[in-house]
């Protein structure tokens, strides 16, 4: 037996791909998370009201989603309804995270695969090539920074944000700051447009070099955004069946009736499935489920995507293209939301703690994130985190099998395999810290 191990870079956290080959046949392809965060263990016994500060530390990339999901779970448990203004500010916060994440995945993690570079910061030898890549990197980082600034504005901190608290948010967004942000978005939206177009063209040029083109088998898609109103501060989950109809809609408290979450022997991350069927979450799931974004540019891209690739679309590389569409949407939408008054009016209400069970859902960049707490005597008795990356684990494994089989034959192992497994995994943009919660 031959075992090949590929350590992975340009993803969040420590993970590797291990492929076992026996008699020139691939019989196993694993995606392994190599460390465990373990928060579901050690938040046991924590005073419930303190958990909202602790759980963002599960992951510094996704801390915003964890913080909001955590607060929503306790609001559900304590029976608190935050004021509408607080809900708006939380949506801006989550849009900021979507911008930061999609820009990072598109330009820092996957763009180098499109131009055969080892990183966004590695530049070619020729002056012309250097200038082009330099300007590309500059633009990409500036767009990413809009997301960071929005998180700071609506969340108080750019990592492990703190403004969202049980009952609302601690303060609004001042007009002057909002106007400043709008100006930046106006300046950079056309740039984002151009970058997304470039990315789209470069991706299609890769064509058959993308190992994952092979795995476009129809499958189930999971998202918590609505078909005609795309909200990240979400309340229910939708499951799209392989033929393209939304076959299940359920609330966070019903998740165990639909999702089977299991541990894994070969990875510190588990798996989830829809009653045993392979699931996909993240950008492609949302785009497959979206009829309209309600913003002009994003709807233009959506139309182009559906007309070109159909609905539902299944090829793995579409995850990357869909991130581009969502990046444009999040810029347009946050601009719209910042135009309204987010400064005046009640931003929070009081609450009285009580024991019970609570669920908090948000649509994180990687898919639906659900926090589920049981509180007894004011302390966390059980905490469960249903993680977007975990929804994709079986789909990643299947895609890796397809790729491995493509590049392993009786002639040997094609050296392209290493790059191909990297591209496949990055298409799913997995987050290992979250997945091992």
């Amino acid at each position: 037996m031959t075992t090949i191990t590929y350590p992975l870079s340009r993803i969040e956290g420590h993970a590797r791909v291990v492929i076992d080959i026996y008699d020139d046949e691939v019989f196993r392809a694993d995606f392994q998370a190599m460390e465990m965060r373990g928060f579901s263990h050690y938040v046991r016994g924590v005073p419930a009201e303190q958990i909202t500060v602790i759980v963002p530390r599960i992951c510094g990339v996704c801390s915003t989603a964890h913080q909001v999901a955590s607060v929503k779970a306790l609001e559900n448990l304590f029976g608190v309804t935050p004021p509408p203004l607080a809900e708006e500010i939380r949506e801006v916060l989550l849009l900021g995270q979507l911008i930061q994440n999609q820009a990072t995945s598109l330009f820092v993690f996957t763009m180098p695969d499109r131009v055969n570079a080892s990183s966004l910061f590695e530049f070619s030898e020729s002056e012309e090539g250097k200038a082009r890549q330099f300007s590309l990197a500059q633009m990409a980082l500036r767009i990413r920074k809009i997301g960071t600034d929005l998180i700071s504005l609506a969340g108080g901190q750019f990592i492990h944000p703190i403004k969202t608290t049980i009952g609302g948010v601690t303060s609004g967004i001042p007009r002057a700051k909002a106007d400043e942000m709008i100006k930046t978005i106006d300046e950079l939206l056309p740039v984002a447009d151009r970058l997304v177009d470039t990315y789209w063209e470069l991706s299609l040029e890769m064509g058959d070099r993308i190992g994952s083109w092979g795995d476009d088998e129809p499958t189930y898609y999971l998202a918590s955004t609505e078909a005609d109103s795309f909200h990240l501060n979400s309340n229910r989950l939708h499951l799209m069946c392989p033929r393209g109809d939304v076959c299940q809609t359920f609330t966070p408290s019903e998740f165990e009736d639909y999702l089977v979450v299991e541990d894994s022997d070969y990875s510190y991350a588990g798996t989830s499935s829809f009653q045993g069927e392979i699931l996909r979450a993240n950008s492609l799931a949302r785009i497959n489920l979206t009829n309209s974004f309600g913003t002009p540019k994003a709807d233009g891209y959506l139309k182009r995507f559906v007309e070109t690739f159909g609905r539902p679309a299944h090829a793995i590389m579409f995850f990357d293209l869909c991130r581009g569409i969502e990046l444009v949407y999040a810029l347009e939408k946050s601009r719209l939301m910042l135009q309204s008054d987010l400064e005046h009016g009640d931003t929070e209400v009081g609450y009285t703690p009580r024991d019970g069970v609570g669920y908090g859902l948000v649509e994180a960049p990687r898919g639906p994130l659900l926090h589920h707490y049981e509180v007894e005597n004011g302390l966390i008795k059980n905490a469960d985190f249903i993680i977007p990356t975990v929804h994709n684990m079986l789909a990643i494994r299947r895609a890796l099998m397809v790729v491995a089989k493509r590049y392993v034959s009786t002639d040997g192992i094609n050296s392209e395999l290493g790059r191909a497994v990297g591209r496949v995994v990055r298409a799913f943009d997995p987050c290992i810290a979250c997945a091992t919660k």
């Binding site: 350590p7 870079s9 340009r10 969040e12 956290g13 291990v18 190599m34 460390e35 465990m36 965060r37 373990g38 263990h41 050690y42 046991r44 016994g45 005073p47 303190q50 500060v53 602790i54 530390r57 599960i58 992951c59 510094g60 990339v61 801390s63 990072t104 820092v108 993690f109 180098p112 080892s118 990183s119 910061f121 590695e122 530049f123 250097k130 330099f134 500059q138 980082l141 920074k145 108080g156 750019f158 990592i159 492990h160 703190i162 403004k163 608290t165 049980i166 609302g168 601690t170 303060s171 894994s264 022997d265 070969y266 990875s267 510190y268 929070e348 009081g350 609450y351 703690p353 810290a433």
Partner: protein, 290 residues
């Protein structure tokens, strides 16, 4: 941002952590102009730290045997090593203690087939290698990263969080309980302790710009103890906080004590002081702190 070979070779090694420190570093625009980034798996495809690195940033705690190996190897290849973030300095927010109710369950799940085992505890870096500079924070702000990379010697860091907070401490506003966060009102400009929050900014190292307290969230002490408490045992820091709450509030002693036992503190501020109990660790002098 040009890849000039004259710039010092710079590497970022991430042990067991959340990537928050790396994201914070990415958020500071200037750093990439000043270094030749040779290793940082989060953003660069590279599997190996080169031999002659000028500065190695290490984030995350030591939680697997691979972490120990990578840390020692990294140290041997770098001229200067900067320990970054709460996890690198204390083992981590992810620390799980011997008396923790979920310890058994944690240990049961800390092995997998064909993967590195989790160590029974999370350890700070200086248990294994010497450290040239400590940069605490969860995560440190981009500004602090730049300070650590460019002008560590003559950095002026606010001694405590209160210095940068700008909220006023009032004499005549004395809360009777620590339930401020339940009230649904956060007054701007007034000290959070006056408003019944359990804020530990009075004992916590500054330099963060009071990012949390200014918008209205209590400081949980992620930058660790201020200089006067650096080598002090946990009880000393707790006594100091107790005095602050006695002086500024009418909160009953029992409630203050309960708050001092809080996981907020044990996950952040206390971890750095707990460290003083372990005699196998080197003394951390204040001139090595940003």
């Amino acid at each position: 941002m040009e890849n000039n070979r004259e710039l010092p070779k710079f590497a970022v090694l991430q042990l067991s952590g959340c990537s928050g420190c790396e994201v914070s570093l990415l958020n500071s625009d200037e750093w990439i102009d000043n270094v030749n980034l040779v290793y940082m798996p989060l953003v660069v495809s590279s599997n190996k730290i080169p031999d002659d690195v000028e500065v190695l940033l290490v984030s995350g705690g030591v939680r697997t045997d691979e972490d120990i190996h990578n840390l020692r190897k990294g140290r041997s290849r770098a001229r200067r090593l900067i320990a970054v973030g709460t996890c690198a300095l204390s083992g981590g927010v992810a620390q799980i203690r011997d008396d923790h109710p979920a310890r058994e369950a944690f240990l049961r799940s800390s092995h997998r087939l064909r993967l590195p085992d989790m160590l029974p505890h999370a350890y700070p870096l200086d248990r294994f290698v010497p450290i040239d500079l400590y940069l605490p924070g969860c995560p440190p702000t981009p500004e602090l990263f730049i300070t650590a990379l460019t002008q560590a010697e003559d950095a002026k860091i606010a001694s405590i969080v209160c210095q940068e907070c700008g909220r006023k401490k009032l004499q005549d506003m004395r809360p009777a309980s620590i339930t401020g966060m339940r009230s649904g009102v956060t007054l701007p400009d007034i000290c959070l302790i006056n408003q019944g929050y359990f804020c530990v900014g009075t004992s916590t190292r500054g330099g963060c710009g009071a990012l949390c307290t200014r918008p209205g969230h209590a400081c949980v002490g992620c930058r660790g103890p201020a200089n006067p408490y650096l080598y002090r045992e946990p009880a000393f820091v707790q006594d100091n906080l107790r005095k602050v709450f006695r002086r500024m509030t009418d909160i009953p002693e029992a409630e203050i004590n309960e708050a001092l036992d809080s996981p907020w503190l044990s996950l952040f501020l206390d971890q750095f002081t707990d460290y003083t109990q372990d005699e196998s660790l080197p003394l951390r002098t204040k001139d090595k702190f940003i």
